[in-house]
Each structure stands twice: as structure tokens, then as C-alpha cells.
């Protein structure tokens, strides 16, 4: 007779919930950027309204992790998986918070004339969401090669951020009446840049989960 460990069922549920949270977070980021680029404040408000669900998912995963540790006493790779899930969850929640901040900026910016066509910001956001997607795939499959590859991609976001930063500062200096809007866009850029850093953290946890190696702070 085939037997299944009770733990496996818990780990499957935990994995599913983390992936659901990851999916919701990715959607929030894409919708917030859509709201900004397409000047759709209704979409921005949807992102804000959806944040409660993300917060509840975070709490649910916290409880699942605690219960699994308390009731199943996972060891070795199982323990590393639960610890990684417990650490990835608040990271995803924070990414969703950044998406909300982008949505709030969009609502304010949409009430005013557009400063200039958005080119670099959507590219940055596209890059960040694609990294997030790949990071969640790596986490699911435990593929450390792809997790490490995602970490490398964060440099591209940093490059675009630096360029956006320079452009916007220059605009504020040369056209002081744009300062309020430019400052908001600067914050949007910063939010996306931070998301890139958080995705890197997720990938580092995937490496820990699979190889039991701490690569965080290794540079």
C-alpha cells in the first residue's frame, strides 16, 4: 500500500498558498503600472481594494508555517522549505505594498496633465514583474540555476532606475513647475527598484531551500 506522509499534504498546501500570493502580488504590480501608464484610476483603486486579500493570505501562510513546524516537526529539506516559505511570504506582501503605493501615485498623477510619455518606468516594471514570475517558478521547482540567473537581472533594473532618476532630477531643476509630478514619478521608480531587490531576496531563499547555502550578504 502506498503511504503518504502527513507532512506532504501540509507542504503542498503551503506551496500552493505561497504561489497564489505570488500570483496576486504580480497581478497587483502589473495592474498598478497599467493604472499609471493608461491613466486608469479605477484600475488603481482595484489594486488598493485587493490588498486586504493579500494581507489575509499572508496571515494564512504564517499560520500554516507555524502549525506545520509545531505539529509536523519538519527536518532537513522540509524544514528549509517551511522556513523559506515563511520568509518569502512577507517579502511578497511588501512587494504588494509597493504596488499599492504605485497605484496611489497613479491616482494622484492621473488628476494632472501627464508630465511626459512613460517609457522607462513601464520597461522597469515589466522587467521587475518578469523577474518576480521567474523567481516564483524557481521557488516552485527548486531550480537554483534559474534563481541565480534572476538575481543577475536585478542590475538591469538598477541601471534603468539610475537613468530615470537623473532624467527626473534634471526635469525638476530645469522646469520647477513639474517638481510635484516628477517627485511622484521618482517615488514610483524607487518602488519598482525596491521590488527588484525583494525578488533577489526570494531567489536567495530558493538557493537556501535547495542547497542549504546562505548566499545573502555573500558579496
Amino acid at each position: 500500500m502506498e503511504t503518504h506522509r502527513l507532512l506532504d499534504r501540509d507542504l503542498d498546501i503551503l506551496r500552493d498558498r505561497v504561489l497564489l500570493l505570488g500570483g496576486e502580488t504580480e497581478t497587483a504590480l502589473l495592474r498598478a503600472m497599467y493604472a499609471l501608464v493608461e491613466r486608469d484610476s479605477a484600475a488603481a483603486r482595484e489594486v488598493l481594494a485587493g490588498d486586504d486579500e493579500i494581507d489575509q493570505l499572508e496571515l494564512e501562510i504564517d499560520r500554516l508555517c507555524i502549525d506545520t513546524i509545531a505539529l509536523r516537526q519538519p527536518a532537513a529539506r522540509d524544514l528549509r522549505f517551511v522556513i523559506s516559505a515563511a520568509k518569502i511570504t512577507p517579502i511578497l506582501e511588501r512587494i504588494a505594498d509597493h504596488a499599492c503605493n504605485i497605484a496611489r501615485a497613479a491616482i494622484e498623477l492621473n488628476d494632472e496633465p501627464q508630465l511626459k510619455p512613460y517609457l522607462d518606468l513601464p520597461r522597469m516594471a515589466q522587467h521587475a514583474s518578469s523577474m518576480l514570475h521567474a523567481a516564483l517558478d524557481s521557488f516552485t521547482s527548486g531550480d537554483t540555476a534559474s534563481a541565480r540567473a534572476v538575481i543577475e537581472r536585478d542590475d538591469e533594473i538598477d541601471e534603468i532606475y539610475n537613468r530615470v532618476f537623473r532624467d527626473l532630477i534634471e526635469m525638476m531643476v530645469n522646469e520647477p513647475h513639474t517638481t510635484a509630478r516628477a517627485a511622484r514619478l521618482l517615488f514610483v521608480a524607487k518602488h519598482i527598484e525596491r521590488i527588484g531587490d525583494y525578488v533577489t531576496d526570494i531567489c536567495e531563499l530558493t538557493v537556501y531551500m535547495t542547497e542549504a547555502e546562505f548566499i545573502k550578504h555573500s558579496n
Partner: protein, 283 residues
């Protein structure tokens, strides 16, 4: 049991074991010679081989836990460390077991002195049907280890204190040991083992028959005792191994698969076989 996982060869095992011992972060006594040094030990019950080429060092004043499924040889191996298997007819040990650099299987070894130095506590508490005092005093008397009545009393008290039992029994030392609770009886057996001033204490599932509170007391005692003694414990309770031991050795089918610092074996064991066992993936 069926598993597709190959058994690591003994050479892999010992190289891992040695590397792990050397890497042990808690091994403050790293530079000190091992208290127990076992090399290439085979053990037989008649024609049946129970242990295969075990090579293992136990550092002084640490707790080493032996884990593994039933029948893997961990209790047999524990009992080779003070020649308790000698009492079973037809058994045979081949290889070397050194304690403090002395081969305990060398001809002319004083087995009584060996067992005084390497005490043992069993799964089921086995107090003599005597008073609490006489249980602890027993070994001291037969070994002629006390110079006077006062000295005997002092040694009994010290042993009971070391076993964390003194305050519970000091007012009823002359009553029968059989009136104690299971957990107290087990600590009495530990006191009896400690009374003759051993240097190594072997424990074969010492808490498996106890409730959680008595188990906790035994575990706290083990951690306390390692300040003075080298302790080797066989346990089926992996959380217990995790809680009390500095090093954990995993046995399977009579072979030592790996010996690794406890925090490592429970987070990232060297061998897949070990990981499959501690995560319950066997079978």
C-alpha cells in the same frame, strides 16, 4: 523495508564522518583526543553480522546521539563500548574500540573496571528491590569505593544530586526504590551509574518509557551531565536527539551512514539516506 537509495560505501561514510567531526562548530574539545575511538569494528551474533566496519570518534564531554531504524545496530554498537555484549553467548567483535587510548578488547582487560568507567542506563528503569539509598550505594559497596559510613553517605548524596533527584528523595532514602515514579526510578538508575564515578555514560533509550515531564527532566539532566561526562545516547526520538546532542550518528543496516554535528544533520545532512530517514521518507 524497500528503498532505491544505495547504501553509501563505508569509505564514503567514514570520510564524511571525519570531515563532519572536524567541522563541528560546538566541538570546543576539537583539539583534544577523542574519549572513544572506534576503528573498523565488525560485530557478529553467531554467524549473523550486525555491525559493518564502524569507524567513529566520540569527543570528550559531549553528547553523541545514535539514531536509526529498529535493528540498524545502534544499541548493539552502544553495548560494544563497555563490552556489555560479552554477556550474550556466541557474540564476537572484530576491530578496535579504544577508550582514552586503551583497547578495551585487548586480552587481560578488566571488564569490571571498564564498566565502572563506562556506565550504562537502560530503556526500562531497573532499580534493585532495595531502599533508594542502597540502590545508589550498591556499586560503591561492591567496588569498595567508600572509606567510611560518612563517606558513603556523601557519595550517595552527590550521585543523587548529580542525577537531579536529591531534593525529591532526601527525606525518604530508606524507603523502597520501587515506590518511586517511573521518571524518578530512571533518575535513580542514573544516580546509581554516576555513584561509581564513571567517565562515560551510555544511555539506551533512557526516556522512551517516560511521560513528557519526566522526559524533559532526563534531557535537562543529560545536557547538565556533559559538563563532567562523555555521554552516548541511543534514541528513537529524533527530536530528543536534536534537543540534547552535540553530534548525531545515523546507522542503517549495521552501517554508520554519517556522523555530523546535530544542528547540521537536522537541517542539511550529508547523505541522502540520512535525509530520507529524518524526514520520514523511508519505506
Amino acid at each position: 523495508m524497500s528503498t532505491s537509495t544505495p547504501i553509501p560505501t563505508v569509505n564514503q561514510t567514514t570520510s564524511h564522518a571525519r570531515a563532519s567531526v572536524a567541522d563541528a562548530p560546538r566541538a570546543s574539545s576539537e583539539a583534544m583526543p577523542p574519549k572513544i575511538n572506534v576503528a573498523n569494528l565488525d560485530f557478529f551474533y553467531g554467524k549473523t553480522q550486525a555491525l559493518y566496519d564502524i569507524t567513529l570518534d566520540v569527543p570528550p564531554r559531549q553528547v553523541m546521539a545514535f539514531i536509526g531504524p529498529s535493528g540498524c545496530g545502534k544499541s548493539t554498537f552502544l553495548r560494544t563500548l563497555n563490552r556489555m555484549n560479552d554477556t550474550i553467548p556466541g557474540t564476537r567483535a572484530v576491530g578496535r574500540v579504544m577508550i582514552d587510548g586503551q583497547d578495551i578488547y585487548a586480552p587481560g582487560t578488566d571488564v569490571v573496571a571498564l564498566r565502572r568507567k563506562v556506565g550504562m542506563v537502560f530503556q526500562k528503569s531497573n532499580p534493585f528491590p532495595k531502599s533508594i539509598f542502597d540502590n545508589v550505594a550498591y556499586g560503591l559497596r561492591i567496588n569498595g569505593m567508600s572509606s567510611s559510613k560518612n563517606d558513603l553517605e556523601a557519595r550517595v548524596e552527590k550521585a543523587l544530586q548529580n542525577a537531579a533527584l536529591w531534593t525529591e528523595v532526601k527525606d525518604r532514602l530508606k524507603t523502597s526504590a520501587l515506590g518511586l515514579s517511573g521518571g524518578q526510578q530512571q533518575r535513580l538508575c542514573i544516580a546509581r551509574a554516576l555513584a561509581v564515578e564513571p567517565e562515560v555514560v551510555l544511555m539506551d533509550e533512557p526516556a522512551s518509557a517516560l511521560d513528557p515531564i519526566a522526559t524533559q527532566k532526563i534531557e535537562e539532566l543529560i545536557v547538565e551531565l556533559k559538563r563532567q561526562y562523555t555521554i552516548v545516547i541511543v534514541t528513537h526520538n529524533m527530536q530528543q536527539a536534536a534537543r540534547v546532542s552535540d553530534m548525531t550518528a545515523f546507522f542503517w543496516l549495521g552501517k554508520l551512514v554519517e556522523v555530523t554535528p546535530t544542528e547540521k544533520i537536522f537541517t542539511n545532512p550529508n547523505e541522502k539516506l540520512t535525509e530520507d530517514y529524518i524526514t520520514g521518507r523511508f519505506g
